[in-house]
């Protein structure tokens, strides 16, 4: 199917086993990708007899791997004893996953020895970290880049957790380390097609970008100073490598932060946030709703109206709240009904359960939340 790979990479660190899973097509239109798809996968896992062991998901959205501005982030979702967490992962990760032939990956369990997950469309391997104990994340990345120079991205984390590389949030780097994963490298040697002619789509994106930044083109050039770096496909140039030595930090680029296109009317705040994590789109680029819908159709063929987009946001947000409570991330109020307290639900649990009906989930899943 155009625009999506329909493949999820499942890496079982307990068994050192790698497999692929096909995701249902309807999930893509219902949840778009990124956060929504990852959460839907977790929800499906709840009814599985062999549930995931503290999974960590890295999911790409439908725009990943294209030059659509702000499409670079991947969503990182983790389930641990601390509950359900998610965050954006910038750089080239999402594009690399998509161009390697997948829509996301699930890291399951924990490896006893530190591993380097080497991903390419030709094959996936779990390898020993080179030289066993590189001093820090940058050393790890450098060694891996020496071994696989064709890798588009290398995610590396280090033991002291004070610094992580390739824009990985420190706490999420810690999550990777807790699973025994020291590095992930991705060779983007695959491909994907789009529903509409790729050249027409690129012409449209190019036109939009030039219209958006033509007043600031001179300033864009000025921001591209040595030491600045962009995420995949983005003309932002927001990342300042020189600010804190080698650590990649985000700094706002004045020409983009001062005058973002407003789409506050797109959806309500929470739903909009959910959508942003689904596409996923960078907070610094607020694409016009019209363009989001146009490009979604051009890439994936999904004909989605503005109302449906809002419903998708609501669907994902509701699902997040359900899973957040299921994994016990929220404190339990003593005033809660007994059945909610037993399941770790908070005082909004009843409201959320009502919304289960709107999700059209299989009975086997809704029964998990059924007080009876």
């Amino acid at each position: 199917m155009a625009g999506i790979q329909e493949r999820l990479l499942r890496i079982d660190l307990n068994q050192s086993n790698v497999s692929e899973e096909r995701l249902p097509r309807k999930w893509y239109s219902q949840y778009l990708g990124g956060l929504g798809l990852g959460l839907r996968y977790l929800l499906e896992d709840l009814q599985s007899t062999s549930s995931l062991d503290e999974p960590l998901l890295i999911m790409a959205g439908p725009f990943a791997g294209t030059p659509i501005p702000g499409s670079a982030p991947a969503v990182l979702i983790s389930v641990s004893k601390k509950g359900l967490h998610y965050d954006m992962l910038y750089g080239n990760v999402a594009a690399a996953i998509r161009l390697a032939g997948f829509d996301g990956m699930v890291l399951n369990g924990k490896s006893l020895a530190p591993v380097w997950v080497a991903i390419a469309s030709q094959g996936i391997a779990l390898k020993a970290v080179p030289d066993l104990e590189p001093e820090n994340a940058l050393d790890t990345e450098a060694k891996i880049r020496d071994l696989t120079p064709e890798a588009l991205t290398v995610l590396a984390v280090e033991e002291d957790k004070s610094r992580s590389n390739e824009y990985l949030e420190v706490d999420m780097g810690g999550q990777l380390l807790s699973k025994g994963v020291k590095a992930i490298s991705i060779v983007a040697d695959g491909k994907f097609d789009s529903e509409r002619n790729v050249k027409d789509l690129l012409r449209d994106v190019n036109l939009y970008l030039f219209n958006s930044i033509k007043q600031k083109s001179e300033r864009v050039n000025q921001t591209a100073m040595p030491g600045r770096k962009s995420c995949f496909g983005c003309p932002g140039g927001c990342i300042d490598y020189q600010r804190d030595g080698q650590e990649a930090n985000f700094v706002l680029t004045p020409s983009f932060s001062s005058k973002q296109l407003s789409v506050e009317a797109l959806v309500r705040e929470e739903n909009n946030r959910s959508l942003k994590y689904c596409l996923p789109s960078c907070p610094k680029w607020t694409l016009p709703q019209k363009k989001i819908l146009e490009w979604l159709e051009a890439i994936t063929g999904f004909v989605i109206t503005a109302d449906e987009l809002e419903i998708t946001g609501a669907r994902v947000f509701t699902l997040y709240k359900i899973l957040d409570m299921y994994y016990g991330a929220k404190p339990i109020s003593p005033a809660q009904p007994e059945y909610l307290r037993q399941r770790g639900f908070n005082e909004r649990g009843a409201l959320i359960i009502d919304k289960l009906e709107q999700l059209s989930l299989p009975a086997s899943i809704t029964n998990l939340f059924n007080p009876k």
Binding site: D139, E141, A142, P226, F232, G233, P235, Y241
Partner: protein, 134 residues
């Protein structure tokens, strides 16, 4: 006419590479792109592997099979695939790492300047790639 490369302006967004491959193959891929952007660990400095149209082109002089040629009208390099034996010497000798292997074709590819309208230049918003008639 040739591409003028300003490495210090490159932020590594990969737009040039993805649009290059899209222009030549009609799909989203980095495999088959005529230029490649690479960087070292912990560095914002990029390396842009694209043909500079060197006067003393090692790719041309090193090709045993005379398959690596120069278009006499435009100066653009091209590979005659009827002659190419895929020895990949051009990939190895190019000092700018501007000749890339297309894993689908299983042959080397080199920048053809998109018939005078290079798409990479259109998508380079920082001016790292510009067209010049020097």
């Amino acid at each position: 006419m040739r591409l003028q490369v300003r490495v210090k302006k490159c932020t590594g967004c990969q737009n040039c590479a993805i649009v290059c491959a899209a222009e030549h193959k009609g799909i989203f891929t980095l495999n088959g792109s005529r230029l490649k952007i690479t960087s070292e660990a912990g560095s914002a400095q990029q390396q842009i592997g694209v043909c500079r149209l060197c006067r003393n082109c090692l790719c041309v002089t090193s090709c045993t099979y005379k398959a690596f040629k120069i278009d006499t009208r435009t100066g653009v390099r091209y590979i005659d695939y009827d002659l190419c034996q895929n020895c990949q010497v051009c990939v190895q000798v190019c000092p700018f790492k501007a000749v890339h292997l297309d894993y689908t074709l299983d042959f080397p590819v080199v920048c053809d300047l998109c018939s005078g309208e290079p798409k990479c230049v259109q998508f380079c918003y920082f001016g790292a790639l510009q067209l010049t008639t020097d």
